[in-house]
């Protein structure tokens, strides 16, 4: 404690201005996480509307045009508003703590990159109230549906995406600069915790592809307002060009949303197995390999656009290759558990569910890689099932696991373990009830993004909707648990988890406003 006494002289500013003016990595981390939780519920409400409409065949609640706005906004908000900011929030809290740095390297930039987001999303959400409605062309905004045939709000969508992109790029630069320059003396790259490694690689992916997204939305803007014809064959352009540029961004984007979760799981499993991570080097290499491959597989989202045979084969083979490094990660996690001494507190439960359910999503991904079979899977609910399996019990469970795992250190309070277990089991049942039946309706022929469907899909859709209502409402329990912990949780111990290792656990509980103002001495450890 005495080592930290000198840091106590200046705490957070008083009042609301603390949150607006803060340059403290912990405050900004909290802002990101709270923002992401709010977005999770806004995006979740939209999912509720979607699932309520699909509860039965026939048009019941909403008109098809509003349904399309819901699917579009649900996707955009969950990806750019919920999952990505949550990981940036985790990085803000954890990267400095895990590498023994006093703060992020660029604190003012850090404040700026967060405060762009509320404005970006306010602008995006305001389109719901505009004449002609919100964007309705799917989060993938394929041209010419998003250009010639778009509602007027497409312009606001373009600027909102630009702002989100700027925020992400600045956040990524900050993470890279921090990790390269501010590691505790003596901490080599191959000593970095896996969460930090995963985020470093993610940050490079962000810097590589967010400008590509900016390019593609700018081309959309030009086609809409300035008479260019990037995506219109009538003017010498090509609608398929849109898809190539978009997916060159959006496939690495998928890994941006899951690599940090890999990092979280690689921290949690060793802690609760009380055993060091198996194959650290292989884990780092596998992550690098996945990041590299993510740049050369994009057209597997486009197997039906009529690519030449050689193109189809190239993208089929590279996509299949991704299974190898991903498999290595799963095998290493299981080997870490093997012969450990496991306990199953809430973070561990979410981590184990992550491994199982992410693997299911990975296996259906392998099926989707097979181009001839993909002709049947493409644009069906099988795809919806696949990417929700990697994003919900994948990314989102990874985030929830991280919050339960580090919350005692952040808040100094322990969450209610019993309620945490309830939260886990209800989420686990809900998530599978929601997304597993989607595999069946997809295979049986139900296209995605439709507000009404043929009768043979009715039973599974009802099941899916029920599961979605269960999963959605369960997350209110999560909010309750968080509030209860912060307000009246039992005081957490200095080391809340018996098997936890790493610098973040060496600071007092709760983590003081300023930590590591003098670098930790790694030799003594």
């Amino acid at each position: 404690m005495s080592a930290h006494a000198e840091t106590m002289h200046h705490g957070p500013a008083k009042g609301f201005s603390r949150w607006i003016l803060t340059t403290n990595h912990k405050d900004i981390g909290t802002l990101y996480l709270v923002f992401s939780l709010i977005m999770l519920f806004i995006g979740g409400t939209m999912a509720f509307v979607i699932r309520a409409e699909l509860f039965q065949p026939g048009l019941q609640l909403v008109m098809p045009e509003f349904f399309n706005q819901m699917t579009t906004m649900h996707g955009l908000i969950m990806i750019f508003g919920a999952v990505m900011p949550a990981f940036v929030g985790l990085a803000n809290w954890q990267v400095p703590l895990m590498i023994g740095a006093p703060d992020m390297a660029l604190p003012r930039l850090n404040n700026f990159s967060f405060w762009i987001l509320p404005f970006a999303f306010a602008m995006l959400l305001s389109t719901l109230f505009m004449p002609g409605g919100a964007p309705d062309f799917g989060w993938t905004f394929y041209a010419p549906l998003s250009t010639t045939y778009a509602p007027p709000s497409v312009t606001f969508f373009v600027f909102a995406v630009h702002m989100m992109g700027i925020s992400s790029i600045l956040g990524a630069i900050n993470v890279i600069v921090t990790i390269f320059n501010m590691r505790a003396p003596g901490m080599k790259m191959m000593d970095l915790p896996l969460f930090v490694w995963s985020w470093l690689i993610t940050a490079f992916l962000l810097i590589a592809v967010m400008p590509v997204l900016a390019a593609v939305v700018t081309m959309v803007l030009m086609d809409v307002h300035f008479g260019t014809s990037f995506f219109s064959a009538a003017g010498g352009g090509d609608p398929v060009l849109f898809q190539h540029v978009f997916w060159f961004f959006a496939h690495p984007e998928v890994y941006i949303m899951v690599l940090p979760a890999f990092g979280v799981i690689s921290e949690i499993i060793p802690t609760f197995a009380r055993k060091p991570l198996f194959g650290y080097r292989a884990m780092v290499l596998a992550t690098v390999a996945i990041a590299f491959l993510s740049f050369i597989v994009w057209a597997h989202h486009m197997f039906t656009v009529g690519m030449p045979l050689a193109g189809e084969l190239f993208f089929m083979y590279t996509t299949m290759l991704i299974a190898v490094p991903t498999g290595v990660k799963v095998f290493n996690w299981i080997s870490t558990m093997f012969k450990g001494s496991m306990t199953f507190e809430t973070p561990m439960l979410f981590a184990i569910a992550f491994i199982v359910l992410f693997t299911i999503g990975g296996l259906s991904g392998l099926m989707l890689a097979i181009a001839p079979a993909d002709f049947q899977y493409h644009d069906t609910y099988f795809v919806v099932a696949h990417f929700h399996y990697v994003l919900v019990p994948g990314s989102v469970f990874g985030i929830i696991a991280a919050v339960y795992y580090w919350l005692p250190k952040w808040s100094g309070k322990m969450y209610d373990e019993k309620l945490g277990q309830w939260h886990f089991w209800l989420s686990f049942i809900g998530v599978n009830l929601t997304f597993f039946p989607m595999h069946f309706v997809g295979l049986a022929g139900m296209p995605r993004r439709i507000p009404d469907y043929a009768l043979q899909f009715a039973d599974f859709n009802m099941l899916t909707s029920l599961g979605a209502f269960l999963f959605g409402t369960t997350q209110l329990l999560f909010v309750y648990i968080l509030i209860k912990t912060v307000r009246s949780g039992k005081k957490a111990e200095q080391l809340p988890w018996e098997g936890a290792r790493g610098l973040e656990w060496s600071v007092p509980t709760p983590a003081p406003y300023h930590t590591f103002t003098t670098p930790p001495d790694l030799e003594r450890k």
Binding site: F137, Y142, D238, P239, V240, M337
Partner: protein
């Protein structure tokens, strides 16, 4: 036999009541759909086997290596040999999957030497079929009544999967489809034929099929194409070769009759009656059955100043469309008779009582001038 084996294996994996429902990819009615199905099942079983092994080890470990059973943690943390093994084995499995996939894909891509060529054009929100070299072409529009969609009537078994004019093809002939689009990207998908191909404006894609059994095979547009994406189904009717020839001859005769009809003198009542059907199929989706529209995107026709104003302005809008607002140029889609009829209908329906009659000849004139 193969199919029964699949069902049996699935029954082991899934709870029994699910078997009564449709939950797997259809085997289909062509050799290619059969080989796609086999590929799908092969890769599914491989994934299943991987899952069983991986999760099996994991569950075994979770059961045995828990602290509550007093298990002490070992401290090993790496082994180059196992890393090499579990990199190599998945790689070999992938190679084994890649070989049949490559063969099937090559087959699917070979659209050469076809017997019949059909051009398929996507429109918001209907399909147009043109039999190349046969002088036969028609639109194919959703036939499910609005009452069923709006839950005012019991839904029939082919709900949302039925059209007014199915595309008819003979069995055992190699049929080549050429896909393109008039507006946004659509995708033509019939699961039983294992064809899904994007219809892209300004570009032509191709695919082919050789159907083995007569029957009706249904599908849907698979690429989000706007508001009524869910409501543009596909119905393929496979018939014997002689039936196909008869059908083709009937179609030709019907199209010639339609051309002749343009020269006939149409009464107001005839035009309104024909126009009502045309309106229901082509206009009601946006402008609504009661002409109230969906402002601001789709203006009301009931009481509209254009509908009640100059005939020529009304004719121009229907014929040339307003592409920027999502209204197609119907001059390219409908016959002069249909356009004349629907304009007459609109000018004499709901609160519009102009008493105007627009003749097919007037529309033909307008189209010829442009």
């Amino acid at each position: 036999m193969c199919r029964r084996l699949h069902l049996f294996c699935l029954a082991l994996v899934l709870p029994a009541p699910l078997l009564a429902l449709e939950f797997n990819m259809p085997t289909g009615v062509t050799d290619t759909s059969q080989s796609v199905f086999n590929l799908h099942m092969t890769i599914f079983y491989i994934c299943l086997a991987i899952a069983v092994v991986v999760f099996g080890v994991m569950m075994w470990s979770i059961y045995h290596h828990r602290k509550s059973r007093g298990h002490e943690a070992a401290q090993f943390h790496g082994n180059i040999l196992v890393e090499v093994i579990w990199t190599t084995i998945p790689f070999l499995i992938l190679v084994a999957i890649a070989i049949p996939s490559t063969i099937t894909l090559g087959d699917l891509y070979d659209a050469s030497e076809s017997d019949i060529d059909i051009q398929v054009t996507g429109h918001q929100w209907k399909w147009h079929y043109k039999y190349i070299g046969e002088d036969v072409d028609f639109f194919s529009v959703l036939a499910t009544p609005r009452e069923e969609i709006e839950n005012r009537k019991k839904k029939n078994p082919n709900y949302l999967l039925e059209v007014d004019n199915p595309v008819v093809v003979p069995v055992h002939k190699k049929v080549r489809f050429l896909f393109t689009s008039n507006d946004v990207i659509h995708a033509w998908w019939v699961p039983d034929l294992a064809i899904k191909k994007d219809a892209i404006p300004g570009f032509i894609n191709e695919s082919w099929t050789r159907i083995k059994e007569p029957g009706v095979y249904r599908g849907q547009c698979a690429e989000l194409c706007g508001k009524h994406h869910a409501f543009m189904p596909i119905e393929v009717k496979a018939v014997s070769e002689s039936e196909y020839e008869t059908w083709l001859a009937d179609q030709k005769a019907a199209q010639q009759a339609a051309v002749a009809a343009a020269d006939k003198d149409w009464s107001l009542e005839e035009l309104v009656n024909t126009g009502a059907t045309v309106y229901e199929k082509n206009c009601a989706a946006c402008h609504q059955a009661d002409g109230s529209g969906m402002p601001p995107t789709f203006p009301a026709l009931d009481g509209s100043s254009i509908v009640q104003g100059e005939k020529l302005e009304h004719m121009k809008i229907v014929t040339n469309g307003r592409v920027e607002k999502g209204m197609p140029a119907f001059g390219k889609q409908l016959t002069a008779v249909d356009i004349a009829a629907v304009i007459t209908f609109e000018r004499n329906s709901w609160g519009n009582k102009t008493g105007d009659r627009v003749t097919p000849a007037e529309i033909q004139d307008l189209m010829d001038k442009q």
